[in-house]
C-alpha cells in the first residue's frame, strides 16, 4: 500500500484545527465538556469529550483530550488520556495531541491543488458547561468558536510513499513528543511521569482512502462495517488500572499500529479513551462490541449535519450510565 503524496511547495496548503488546545499552566482553560465537528473531502468527523463523574465530584478537571486536524487531503484524529495518578496528566494529554499533530503535519507532504473561493460552512464549537442537565448552574456559560474554512479543490495524483516511510514518520513524531513531554516536565520541576498520557491516533488520506491507526496505552480504535465491528489496532490487555504511556522510557514496546484501506463497506472508525472503551469491550451482552459500533453509527448518521451529531455525541458521553464507569469519556468518530 502507498500514500498519494507530492512534494510540497507550501503554496495553497491549508488545514483546520478542531478540538482541545494546550491547557494553560497559569490557570485552567480546559473546558469540562468539549465537542467539535466538520467534514473533509467527503468524510465527516465529530469529536466530543466529557468530564467523568469522579473528577466532577472531586473538583478536578477533565484529563482527556481530543484533536482533529487536516492538512491538504490528510486528516489526523487524536485522543489522549492524561493518566490519573500523574500530577499533570491532563496537561500532558493536551501537550501530546497538539505537539504530535504539529510534528506530523508539518513534515507531511500534500497533493498540489488550488483553493477555491467558496465559503463552506464547516466549523467548530466548544462548549463550557454543556450538559446542562448535569450541572444546571453552568447552563448559561456556554462558549463557542465558529470557524469557516475555504473549500479546497485538490487534484489526485499518484506518488508512492511506503508504509515503512509512513510508520517511520509516525514513530519519529511520537519520539519527539516523548522528548518534548519529558523536557517540559523538567522545565516545570516535575518528575518525568508527571505528564503521563496515552495517545491514540488515525492518520488518514481522504484521497487514497488509506490510513494508519496507532495506539500507545489503553483505549480503543474501532472499525465498523455494515455487519461487523472490530478493533483496528490490537487491544493490549493491561492489568486493571494500569496502562502504557508515552512518557515511559520503553514506550516504543507498547506502540501498536495497523494500516488500513477505507473500503466501501467500512462505515466508521471510532477512537476512544478507556473511559468509553471499558464500557464496550466487555460482556455481557455477548456481542456488545458490534452492537455498540452499529448503534453509534446509526445514532450519528440519523441526523443530517455534523454539528447536531457532535451535540448528540457530547450529550450521550455526559449522560450515559454504565456500571463502575466514572472516568472521563472521549470519542472521535470518522464516518461517511
Amino acid at each position: 500500500m502507498c500514500f498519494s503524496i507530492f512534494p510540497e511547495d507550501g503554496v495553497g496548503v491549508t488545514g483546520f484545527i478542531v478540538g482541545d488546545r494546550v491547557i494553560s499552566r497559569a490557570f485552567s482553560t480546559h473546558p469540562d465538556w468539549s465537542a467539535g465537528f466538520g467534514k473533509h473531502n467527503g468524510f465527516s468527523f465529530v469529536g466530543a469529550s466529557a468530564i467523568g463523574q469522579l473528577h466532577l465530584r472531586e473538583g478536578r478537571k477533565r484529563e482527556d483530550c481530543f484533536l482533529v486536524r487536516s492538512k491538504g487531503e490528510w486528516l489526523l484524529s487524536l485522543v489522549a488520556d492524561g493518566v490519573g495518578s500523574a500530577r499533570l496528566g491532563g496537561f500532558g494529554a493536551s501537550l501530546a495531541v497538539n505537539f504530535f499533530a504539529e510534528e506530523i503535519l508539518r513534515d507531511l507532504v500534500v497533493t498540489k491543488g488550488h483553493i477555491g473561493d467558496s465559503l463552506k460552512g464547516r466549523g467548530q464549537k466548544r462548549w463550557k458547561g454543556y450538559g446542562a442537565k448535569l450541572v444546571p448552574a453552568l447552563a448559561h456559560e456556554g462558549v463557542g468558536t465558529l470557524s469557516w474554512y475555504r473549500e479546497m479543490h485538490l487534484q489526485e495524483e499518484e506518488n508512492p510513499w511506503s508504509e515503512n516511510e509512513c510508520l517511520e514518520q509516525i514513530t519519529q513524531g511520537l519520539r519527539k513528543t516523548h522528548d518534548f513531554l519529558l523536557a517540559t516536565a523538567q522545565r516545570e520541576n516535575e518528575e518525568a511521569g508527571a505528564l503521563a498520557t496515552t495517545l491514540l491516533g488515525v492518520l488518514f488520506n481522504t484521497f487514497s482512502r488509506q490510513g494508519v491507526a496507532f495506539q500507545i496505552g489503553d483505549g480503543l480504535i474501532l472499525a465498523v462495517s455494515e455487519n461487523e465491528s472490530w478493533p483496528l489496532v490490537e487491544v493490549v490487555e493491561f492489568e486493571v488500572s494500569e496502562t502504557a504511556v508515552l512518557t515511559q522510557q520503553n514506550w516504543e514496546e507498547w506502540l501498536r499500529w495497523q494500516f488500513f484501506l477505507w473500503e466501501d463497506s467500512l462505515e466508521a472508525v471510532f477512537l476512544m479513551t478507556d473511559g468509553v472503551a471499558d464500557d464496550c469491550l466487555y460482556t455481557p451482552p455477548e456481542d456488545v462490541l458490534n452492537r455498540f459500533g452499529q448503534d453509534l453509527v446509526r445514532e450519528l448518521t440519523r441526523v443530517l449535519d455534523e454539528e447536531t451529531a457532535a451535540r448528540r455525541l457530547l450529550h450521550w458521553l455526559s449522560e450515559y450510565k454504565a456500571p463502575s464507569s466514572f472516568d472521563d469519556r472521549t470519542l472521535v468518530a470518522l464516518y461517511r
Binding site: Q53, L54, R57, E58, D81, V83, G84, S85, A86, A132, K133, P136, A139, G193, A196, G217, D218, V235, E237, F238, E239, V240, S241, E242, T243, A244, V245, T247, Q248, N250, W254, D274, D278, D279, C280, L281, Y282, T283, P284, P285, V288, L289, R291, F292, D295, L296, E299, V303, T308, R311, R312, L313, H315, W316, Y320, A322, P323, S324, F326
Partner: protein, 254 residues
C-alpha cells in the same frame, strides 16, 4: 389569607428541568447505544483473628469495627457500587463467613466468637481459594476484570499452623502485581519480628483497645474508598494502592 405557598426556587428548578427536557426532545439529543453491563469490582478481604486471646472486649470491638466499615463504605456512591467484601475468621474455626465475595450492602455483621489458637495458614489457604475462584480477570472479548484485591490481615499473636507456604504463594501473587496486602498486629503479644515475617505488604501494629480497633476499621474504610476511586497509573510502575495516612494508633513497622 388561606392557600398554599409556592417555593419560588423549587418552581424555577421545575421550569428549568422541564425546559431541558423540551430542548432534549426538540433537538433529539438522546442516543440509544448498547453498552457493556459488566461491573468492575474492588474485592476487599478482611482476615480477622478470632483466637482465644481476642476474647472479651477485643472481639466485641472487631464486630463493632466491621459494622463501622460497612456504614462508611456504603455512604460513598462509588465505593458502594464497586466494593465486594469477604470476611475470613481464624480461631477455633477457620471460615469464610461470607462464602466468597458479596456486595458490601449485603454484608451481615457476623457474631464473632473468640477461642482456640491462631491458624493463620489455614486462613491464607481460604484466601487463596477465594482469589482463584471469585476474582475475575479481564478477558479480551469477555468479562470486565476486577480491580486488584485489597487484603487486610488483623492478628494478635503468633500463627500456630503452617503459614509459610501459603504466605509464599501469596507473595508470589503479589509479585505478579495482583494484590495489595496490609497486615496489622494488635495487642501486647505481638512480636514485630514475626509480624515482619508474616507481612506480604506494609505492616503496622496497634493496641487492642476499642478506640484502636475503631480507628483501624475507619482507616480500612478510607483506604477502600480511596482505592475504589483510584486512578490509572503507568504500566510497570507497580505503585502501591493509594492509602490514606494511617491514624496515630497504627505504628508502621519498617
Amino acid at each position: 389569607m388561606s392557600g398554599f405557598v409556592v417555593d419560588s426556587n423549587l418552581a424555577k428548578m421545575f421550569i428549568l428541568e422541564f425546559w431541558m427536557e423540551v430542548v432534549d426532545v426538540e433537538e433529539g439529543l438522546e442516543m440509544d447505544v448498547t453498552l457493556g453491563e459488566g461491573l468492575r469490582r474492588l474485592p476487599v478481604y478482611l482476615l480477622l483473628d478470632t483466637s482465644g486471646s481476642m476474647m472479651g472486649a477485643p472481639i466485641q470491638a472487631v464486630e463493632e469495627g466491621l459494622a463501622l466499615f460497612k456504614r462508611e463504605v456504603e455512604k460513598d456512591t462509588f465505593a458502594r457500587e464497586t466494593v465486594w467484601v469477604s470476611v475470613i475468621v481464624f480461631g477455633r474455626e477457620v471460615e469464610n463467613v461470607t462464602q466468597g465475595l458479596i456486595p458490601v450492602e449485603k454484608l451481615e455483621i457476623p457474631s464473632l466468637e473468640a477461642g482456640g489458637y491462631t491458624p493463620l495458614g489455614a486462613a491464607l489457604r481460604l484466601l487463596l481459594d477465594s482469589l482463584d475462584r471469585d476474582v475475575k480477570k479481564a478477558v479480551k472479548g469477555g468479562e470486565k476484570g476486577d480491580w486488584k484485591p485489597l487484603v487486610f490481615i488483623l492478628t494478635d499473636g503468633k500463627p500456630t499452623d503452617d503459614w509459610k507456604s501459603p504466605r509464599l504463594e501469596l507473595l508470589n501473587r503479589r509479585e505478579r502485581k495482583v494484590l495489595n496486602v496490609i497486615t496489622v498486629g494488635c495487642g501486647p503479644d505481638i512480636d514485630e519480628g514475626t509480624l515482619r515475617e508474616i507481612a506480604v505488604g506494609p505492616s503496622f501494629k496497634m493496641d487492642a483497645d476499642s478506640a484502636s480497633f475503631a480507628a483501624f476499621f475507619r482507616w480500612v474504610s478510607q483506604t477502600v474508598k480511596a482505592v475504589s476511586q483510584s486512578l490509572s497509573q503507568p504500566q510497570g510502575e507497580n505503585t502501591p494502592a493509594p492509602m490514606p495516612v494511617p491514624p496515630d494508633v497504627l505504628q508502621y513497622i519498617p
